[in-house]
């Protein structure tokens, strides 16, 4: 136990010490993509030029800046690597949101169609449509034509219609704020619903309200049973459980100053799940599923000195359904089949600093999760944390080198089923990325074409926690990854 406490204390101390960096707060880039967002100042984003210059890297414009007519954008990452032992390279994370460097390929295609209203250039409407491909479905790797396609955005919004500063939208949407790029993680707000929302911005204050539904094809929320045909023919279907989750969110943001500047956001969510009844398909026995609730309260404090020199701090507390996230089912239920006592507490940090020759990205979080299942000693409850720093050295305008150092650890409250003891998996990682950035300097400059070498040093608990003893990865405490990859974004519809 002391060991784990020491680990967490160390992580926390590092996170705390980094708050000193608040002295160099600076504005984040204007926008990024579906899976990586540096902090965005609420107003006056730097205009993208497509040119490479310190403080004005080749980051895409904010989605609102898409012109009228048809436009196209994309976020994507594609990479491949080997472990130097004859296998495909693999990630080595033991926390929920670890280093993103070995993530599987992912691709978003953003299609926009936008028009002004009554030829008033301030008033517009637009359609945002974003098909996305996930899970590394690359034909040239597997020879398999099958791909996993999702529609990540399909909504229409109006801007300044009826009231200057007012936006209205309806549809299916990723709806989220700032992220920790290094972990591909949104520590405060990250919703996926079908619904509607509105935001209103006046001077440096913005309020954003949203409400929507989602419903997973999981027996926790949805169930159909076969029933006899009305006449002859195949069996019919009866929907016996259908309880979508209602999610509403409210975000208030106040900005102070421009450059340097700061912002404070207060954030909340409410989740409502109606009651239902699960039917055993074999016996038709009914199991009541009571109505349940969830909530989130959180805040973000961000500051920036100039473009891409920023610091964001988050605190998020979630309870009930919301502790598990919005697009998941609970991992544990209490004896009443509710999750009232589930909790998530997150403290997180993201920062970036740029100069002509060097840029530094920093991310860290500590997360405590309490499962709703009975008893204090469940392995479903845990504490985890990670800290990572990625300095970039700009050897020339287009040729850079980055290194990433990170440490992550996790400790479950309960005993692992395989090890018969509490595990404290820990991983130290070191990566080197020689890279080419066609749009020039900047940690957020994309596209980024890179070679990568990572060495991960895992303790025994990490291997035990991640792999079955028969898995070839189980015996490797030192893991190599050597490969290449590319990441790009432009006109991406991340929010």
């Amino acid at each position: 136990m002391m060991k784990s406490r020491q680990i967490l204390v160390a992580v926390c101390a590092i996170v705390a010490s980094l708050s000193s960096a608040a002295r160099i707060w600076a504005a984040p880039p204007a926008s990024t993509t579906t899976t990586q967002q540096p902090s965005v100042p609420p107003v006056t984003p730097p205009k993208a030029t497509g040119e490479s210059a310190r403080g004005d890297v080749g980051s895409p414009p904010e989605p609102v800046a898409t012109p009228t007519g048809f436009d196209f954008g994309s976020y994507g990452r594609v990479g491949v690597g080997a472990d130097l032992r004859g296998h495909e390279g693999y990630p080595t994370n033991v926390v929920s949101h670890g280093s993103r460097l070995e993530e599987a390929p992912y691709l978003e295609l953003d299609f926009y169609y936008s028009r002004t209203i009554h030829d008033d250039p301030a008033k517009r409407w637009r359609l945002v449509l974003t098909p996305a491909f996930a899970a590394g479905d690359l034909f040239h790797y597997s020879g398999d034509f099958t791909s996993h396609l999702a529609i990540r955005n399909a909504y229409v919004e109006t801007q300044n219609l009826g009231l200057p500063g007012l936006r209205l939208w309806v549809g299916s949407r990723m709806y989220r704020g700032d992220d920790i790029y290094l972990f591909d993680y949104w520590p405060l707000d990250n919703l996926n619903t079908v619904g509607a929302g509105a935001s209103y911005q006046r001077r440096k204050f913005e309020v954003a309200l949203h409400a929507g539904l989602n419903r997973l094809d999981d027996l926790f929320q949805y169930e159909t049973l076969e029933v006899p045909p009305r006449g002859l023919g195949p069996a019919g279907q009866s929907t016996v459980l259908d309880r979508p989750r209602f999610v509403a969110s409210l975000k208030l943001t106040q900005q102070f100053g421009n450059f340097p500047g700061a912002k404070v956001s207060l954030y909340g969510e409410v989740h409502v799940l109606p009651s239902g009844e699960y039917t055993d398909p074999t016996t038709r026995a009914k199991t009541p599923l009571p109505a349940d609730l969830g909530w989130v309260a959180g805040a973000q404090l961000g500051g920036w000195l100039r473009p891409y020199v920023f610091l964001n701090l988050w605190l998020r507390v979630a309870g009930g359904l919301a502790a598990y996230g919005e697009l998941t089912v609970p991992t544990g239920l209490d004896p009443t089949r509710k999750v009232t006592d589930a909790r998530e507490v997150v403290g997180a940090l993201s920062a970036n600093w740029e100069s002509k020759h060097v840029g530094v990205m920093l991310g860290a979080y500590v997360r405590r999760f309490n499962d709703a299942g009975p008893g204090p000693y469940t392995p479903a409850s845990y504490t985890e944390g990670i800290i990572a720093v990625r300095p970039h050295v700009y050897l020339s305008e287009y040729f850079h080198t980055a290194v990433e150092l990170s440490y992550q650890a996790r400790q479950a409250d309960g005993v692992d089923f395989v090890a018969n003891r509490v595990l404290t998996p820990q991983v130290f990682r070191f990566s080197v990325l020689p890279l080419v950035a066609p749009l020039g300097r900047g940690t957020y400059s994309r596209p980024q074409i890179y070679l990568i070498y990572t060495v991960s040093v895992m303790n025994n608990d990490a291997r035990i926690a991640l792999y079955d003893p028969t898995d070839f990865r189980y015996s490797n405490g030192v893991v190599h990854y050597i490969g290449t990859g590319v990441e790009w974004w432009f006109n991406s519809s991340y929010r």
Binding site: M1, A16, L349, A412, V415, V418, N420
Partner: protein, 645 residues
Amino acid sequence: MVVQLKLSIIALCAALVVTGCGGAGAVDANWKTTSGQTGDWRDEVIYQLLVDRFADGDLNNDLHVVPHALGLYQGGDWQGVIDHLDYLQTLGVTALWISPVVRNLETDANFDAYHGYWQQDFEHVNPHFGDLAKLRELVQKAHQKGFKVILDIVTNHVAQLFYYDINGNGSPDDNVYGAGCGEQPPADQQACPTPPVITHVTEYDPDYDPQGVRGYTSLGFSGPAPIRWIYDAAIDREPTAPGQNAGMAPAAQFGFQRDDWYHRKGRITNYGDREQVLTGDFPGGLKDLATERPDVQAALTAVFAKWIQAADFDGFRIDTLKHVDHPFWQYFCTHIREYCAGKTQIADPLQPDKPNAIVPPLSVPKQKFFMFGESFDGDDTLNGSYTQNQEVDSTFYFSQKFSVFDAVFKNGGPTRAIEDQFKRKQMLYAQVPNTDGIGIASTQAMVNFLDNHDVPRFLFDKPSLPALYNALAYLFTEDGIPCVYYGTEQEFSGGNDPTNRERLWDTGFRTDGATFQYIQKLIKIRKAYSPLRRGDLTITWSTDHVANEEDAGIFAFERNDGGKKALVVLNTSDKQTSETSTIQTGGNPMTTSFPAGTELTDVLELDGSAATSTITVGAAGALTVQVASRGAKIYVPSGDVVPLP
């Protein structure tokens, strides 16, 4: 502002660290075992519970539960037991015998291993019931409430994890030999038998063959049938763990995945054949371990010693005692006792990378670790033999179940049978305590029971509450350690397996039922009067009469604990009030050791305030007691009467 920010982060992290680490250490690095039984095991009342059927405290492990399909998992778990320790405390039982905890083959032939006797992995828990932390929590909380916890273990066999590839085709076949004539094994049988024979052979569970299961083709036998392990991860049908290299070259095989750690002789077909009983597979294809091998003995001793250390158990109930040879028990029981006493280390031969590994020692010596075995047999010579030579401390008293509770209390047989059984026990079971054992001889520590998970419940065979109460009165007053099968207090009446494994939570855990309160009262009486727990037993009346004779169905005995005495009189007759006398037919009244003039009070009838049934001992200890049909009287000298706890 920066300073404030920093402080707030430190505060958050500190809170997270505290909340994050508060619980786990208590069940891991700080885990401590306790000193076990400090008293006398005869003071305990054992409650046998099937974890899957007792209470469902955690819905999250209810995988594949089909409610009320009693051959399948029902959802009970260790959390459920924790949640209802108060119920058990209210009933008055003091020791919990919980069903096996190790990981099992999930399901076989459309039946689940909810009972726990289909072992697949000796060193990991069955996740249907919780994790190791939950098991420890159960034992800890039970100990805190004064319960002992007894673990059910199996050393005889593992689940149906491999098959015999009799025809060599690499798949587990169900074969039918012969078309009614001639072609069935043995191959040298040429003539068409009369009547014609069709032989059915399942390669999972072939019949016993003293030479070992043999391969067979249309040309005849082909030598030993290879065993083939099955890999079906979805149901945990994997080679036995711990072990390595199942199915590989014999020299590479390790631990419980060694072919030669199993007898491989097929299923027992003749229980009268001791060799079959000892070396045959248990029905259901449960593969028999070669327990005569020193390496198997060491391995089984290690894995079960680990459970004592891992969860702080106070005793073992040992399954299939009679299916394992005596030398094994002499080795196993002796080593377990010495380990508990802190007198020896136990090697752990199942860690291939650590040849000198030992089982972690207990935090403190564990006293009087109780081991009783299940010898499902009416033969006291056989059952008693397992209590000799430092083997088990006692047995789960099956012969009494057959000859007394079935023959007399259910079926109205003469009570002379009870006396006969008592004499057999005194003669055939160990009369001296084991070294480092429980401190009392087997004859005093038999685990008495009316029914269990392997036999129909008492009320199934004899649907009569008076008969049940009558039997319970004997159970709680005879010498030995009473054991109540869960649900008896709720008047469960299931028949053979699995209907005798009902879900207790369907009763709502009511404590106001007549039978619950009757058992509660018997336990209170047993606790209040030491002669009923520890006293020597002297039979004062038994009879061959079962009809309308004046003493028909009467059985009486005294118990004497250092001069403190009790007298129990039972009438097992369904028909009439009987008495402890045959005066009307020229006989005598019962004589007791009580002095003439001693007033005795029936504490079973005592309502707590005043004596409702007293009787005075006559000259020379003579005493004629009338007892109503299926009645029971528990007398103590009136001066010894105490309020029930």
